[in-house]
């Protein structure tokens, strides 16, 4: 489903490359942890997938299409196949939970009836059906992240990208969020998650890809956060 072929990325204002010569392939339905020290290039990796940045060299191929070659006006349509979740939740503070999730469908022009049922389903899955009228300010961090996941998932995209989704959460809440992502992954959705959270990675025992200063230094099936002895 996803292939990185000799991908390097350097930002215009930086000398050192954020990513160097990444070769990697991820199949549909996989769950992949992206780990590495701060600044190792995890977010850059995800931004390339979201088509927010373009690779300096090499190819990022998603569903047999070179992401760099997508026409600018087709990028929105491409992004509809990807749900994205971030450390800072990125919810709209003046909309309630239901409206925040519905927003993802409304802006792409889905009919009202479909929005209603899809939002109800998504909130049911993340366990927030009871809180649907609350605003983000009235929710805990874990609940807010569930809303964000519901929004990423409401469109049933084949791929979900999560950039440190548990970064702001305590260990118990983090595990809840991980279980949720795992459940979504079991429905066949590919999940790629960048994280610093060793406990979470160790517990889940999924594929682990480690970056160090922009280079891929490990790709381990059923891996752990650090090198297991």
């Amino acid at each position: 489903m996803i292939r990185f072929e000799g991908v390097s990325k350097s930002y215009a204002r930086k000398n050192a490359a954020a990513l160097t010569d990444i070769d990697l392939s991820i199949d549909g339905g996989e769950f992949v942890f992206l780990v590495g020290a701060s600044g190792s290039g995890k977010s850059t990796f995800l931004r390339l997938l979201l088509c927010e940045e373009k690779a300096t060299s090499g190819k990022v191929i998603v569903n047999d299409k070179d992401v760099a070659k997508i026409r600018r006006w087709k990028v929105p349509a491409y992004r509809r196949q990807i749900g994205a979740v971030f450390q800072d939740f990125r919810l709209l503070p003046e909309k309630n939970v239901e409206q925040n999730v519905a927003f993802a469908l409304e802006v792409i022009g889905e009919p009202r009836a479909k929005v209603k049922t899809a939002v109800a389903d998504a909130l049911e899955i993340v366990g927030l059906a009871d809180l649907s009228q609350r605003r983000p300010g009235q929710l805990s961090g874990g609940e807010q992240q569930r809303v964000a996941i519901a929004r990423a998932f409401v469109n049933k995209p084949p791929l979900i990208i999560a950039d440190e989704p548990t970064g702001n959460l305590d260990p118990t809440t983090s595990l809840d969020i991980m279980r949720l992502l795992d459940r979504i992954n079991r429905t066949g959705t590919t999940v790629i998650m960048a994280t610093h959270d060793a406990a979470v990675v160790d517990q889940m025992r999924k594929r682990v890809v480690e970056l160090d200063a922009g280079r891929m230094v490990r790709d381990q099936v059923r891996g752990v956060y650090g090198y297991a002895g």
Binding site: P76, A84, E106, V107, I108
Partner: protein, 303 residues
């Protein structure tokens, strides 16, 4: 359709959130468009006057009278024989002359009285001070020099005057005023564009969360930008309506109620010209603001 409704709701939200900016845009648009429209109205006025006056311009052959300059009239007031001879010379110009008629001092005074009915100059003028004249209407007003050559040196002629020349000076003056008005208006329109650009920049920045999320979930560029452009267009539209109202007020209160009664001897802009100017002004405002907004958000809300 549903997306349009949502975009409209978003627009309304944006307008209210940036109320001070919105008001600033509305007022700037209203003022600059009023100035712009006034400039255009002055031009329409000059055109109306040109039509009116050029249709009526004549070559005036002033005859010597009691009040004439002795240098031009060494022989004193014109005699009957001289008057007849001058008339014959004018008539001899043939088809170049469309019409010629005689205006006595008394008739000149009557005209003058009518034209300056409300003016105090009237008290200082007597019939004697106004010379008698032949009024020559030319088939082609450019032929003035030939009339002048035919009669200027005839005894009994004080002066041959081309009204066109006088009018041209006057219209040049009006043209200058109009150029200044339009210059200011264009500067103001530029200010309006800059204000819209800046407002949109601020709006794009203050709503970067919402637009960022829209991008993330795959909203099209058009849909993301539409509310911003609609905001600018609605604000400019309101400003444009204010300007249209101001122009209507100029026509009703300034032209129809003050100028028209005071200067009965000339034509003033009619409603048709005013409405044309209103349409031009309104469209200019809306298109400029919408275009400026579109280009700005295109730059600041890149994918």
């Amino acid at each position: 359709m549903r997306r349009l409704m949502l975009a409209l709701a978003e627009m309304w939200h944006g307008l209210r959130r940036n109320l001070t900016m919105t008001i600033a845009v509305i007022l700037t648009v209203a003022i600059s468009l009023t100035l712009f429209g006034t400039g255009l109205l002055v031009r329409a006025q000059v055109d109306a006057m040109k039509d009116y006056w050029y249709d009526r311009v004549e070559v005036s052959v002033f005859l010597c009278g009691k009040a004439s300059d002795p240098k031009a009239c060494p022989g004193g007031p014109v005699t009957d024989a001289q008057r007849a001879e001058i008339k014959a010379k004018i008539v001899a110009l043939g088809p170049k002359v469309q019409d010629v008629y005689y205006e006595s001092s008394q008739q000149a005074y009557d005209h003058f009285k009518q034209q300056f009915k409300n003016s105090p100059i009237l008290n200082n003028v007597t019939a004697d001070a106004l010379p008698e004249s032949f009024r020559v209407k030319l088939a082609n007003p450019e032929d003035f020099a030939q009339v002048a050559a035919a009669v200027a040196t005839s005894p009994g002629v004080e002066q041959v005057q081309d009204q066109r020349k006088l009018l041209e000076k006057f219209f040049k003056l009006l043209g200058g005023l109009q150029a200044i008005a339009l210059g200011i208006a264009i500067a103001m329109l530029l200010v309006t564009v800059l204000l819209v650009v800046n407002t949109m920049r601020v709006a794009a920045y203050s709503r970067r969360n919402a637009t960022g999320i829209m991008k993330l979930v795959g909203a099209s560029n058009f849909y993301i930008r539409l509310p911003f452009v609609l905001e600018a267009v609605v604000a400019a539209g309101i400003g444009g309506l204010l300007a249209v109202g101001a122009l209507a007020a100029e026509k009703v209160f300034l032209v129809d109620q003050i100028l028209q009664p005071a200067f009965r001897f000339t034509a003033f802009v009619g409603w048709q010209a005013v409405v044309e100017v209103m349409i031009i002004v309104f469209l200019t405002g809306v298109i400029l603001a919408g275009g400026a907004a579109w280009l700005t958000v295109r730059r600041y809300l890149r994918v």
